[in-house]
């Protein structure tokens, strides 16, 4: 395609946009979470150290001049209220970005691990909580990179009896829409 990777024009507008991860992508990992149905929602329940691996592109309309960051979000629930055990959980992402002609995890690897710290489970059972797990810094991104992502639940201070369940995952970024090229 002729327009692939053309520089973005000087004129346009920016807004916040997101790239949604299909929820079924969470099913694969080194120690994958269990599928859970909260009809009509589909979710994945993570015990400590469960993880999911999936791939995300740096979208073609990602604002590159100046380069912008990308934030990884999860919406999750826990079938337990906070008052029961004042429990918390912790999420982690591990990412690496690669462009064509570079090696996966090679010399130019841009790997990082980001932890949320302890996050209290919601006050009410099955109440949705939205958590920004971490920011992929602009310096590690280039247009149309391929991003490998791991989503982990890791140990926290007070573990709930019920497992937290992820029901949505997405990456939020600044989009640039050219009006002239």
């Amino acid at each position: 395609m002729v327009v692939t990777r053309r520089g973005q024009g000087d004129y346009g507008y920016q807004d916040t946009y997101r790239y949604d991860i299909p929820i079924t992508s969470l099913a694969a990992g080194l120690a994958p979470p269990d599928a859970v149905t909260r009809a009509p929602y589909r979710a994945y329940a993570y015990t400590v150290n469960d993880n999911s691996l999936f791939t995300v592109p740096v979208p073609i309309d990602w604002a590159r001049n100046p380069a912008s960051t990308m934030d990884v979000y999860v919406r999750w629930v826990c079938n337990e209220n906070f008052a029961l055990a004042t429990a918390d959980i912790q999420w982690r992402i591990v990412y690496d970005t690669v462009d064509q002609n570079n090696q996966v995890l090679g010399a130019a690897a841009t790997t990082a691990t980001l932890d949320t710290g302890d996050v209290d489970i919601p006050v009410t059972a099955l109440m949705i909580q939205e958590t920004n797990i971490g920011t992929i810094i602009a310096a590690n991104l280039a247009a149309v990179d391929t991003i490998g992502l791991e989503l982990w639940r890791i140990a926290s201070t007070t573990t709930p009896t019920a497992e937290p369940e992820a029901i949505a995952v997405w990456v939020e970024y600044t989009r640039f829409i050219s009006t002239y090229q």
């Binding site: 395609m1 999936f54 592109p57 690669v98 002609n101 002239y180």
Partner: protein, 190 residues
């Protein structure tokens, strides 16, 4: 390319759009590839004859060609792949193929004439192990496609014609469809 005038869609700015195919979609096929984990990446390793089926919709913002018989194909299927073997090890090559079919509502799946098949040349595995290579495997022919069509694709690794087969299998890390996207200017008043 600016100030594009499509009689179907009016004036707007033409840019590239992409449809990302979730990587786990590659797990389904007549002889599906094997999943490979190079954390945090997930890939699929294809032996010769392995294939994956997936489908997607041609998006509402796709620009339809006004004269497809005289313009180049705009909609292409791309992969990013690597091989855990250096080219120097076995001077290996691989060859990829797509076969696609498209249908609109009220048309018959696998109807004759709205299908295509492309294959790449023999492509040397990259110089370095798991060095990512981007390959345009093939195109959707403009005269056969319309906005809103459902497109079914079979992505295969096939035998090379002349090159040596690498000892290790090539791994696909990303698949997408690239198309011309028309961003219309202005809006309809009330």
């Amino acid at each position: 390319m600016a100030n594009v005038n499509s009689p179907l869609q009016g004036y707007g700015t033409l840019t590239e759009g992409r449809i990302e195919i979730p990587i786990e979609t590659l797990a389904a096929g007549a002889i599906p590839p094997a999943p490979v984990t190079t954390a945090p990446y997930r890939g699929y390793a294809y032996t010769v004859g392995d294939d994956s089926y997936f489908q997607f919709a041609l998006p509402i913002d796709m620009m339809e060609e006004t004269n497809p018989s005289t313009t180049p194909a705009d909609t292409g299927i791309f992969i990013r792949w690597g091989c855990n073997e250096t080219y120097a090890a076995n001077t290996g090559s691989v060859r990829w193929q797509i076969a696609w079919e498209t249908c609109s509502q009220n048309s018959e799946v696998l109807a004759a004439g709205r299908a295509g098949r492309y294959q790449t040349n023999d492509i040397q595995v990259p110089t370095l192990a798991r060095q990512v290579q981007e390959t345009r495997v093939g195109d959707l022919m403009d005269q056969y496609i319309e906005v809103g069509d459902t497109v079914g694709v079979t992505l295969s690794r096939i035998a090379t014609e002349n090159g040596a087969t690498p000892v290790l299998e090539p791994e696909i890390y990303a698949v997408w469809v690239s198309y011309f996207r028309l961003m219309q200017w202005g809006s309809v008043g009330r």
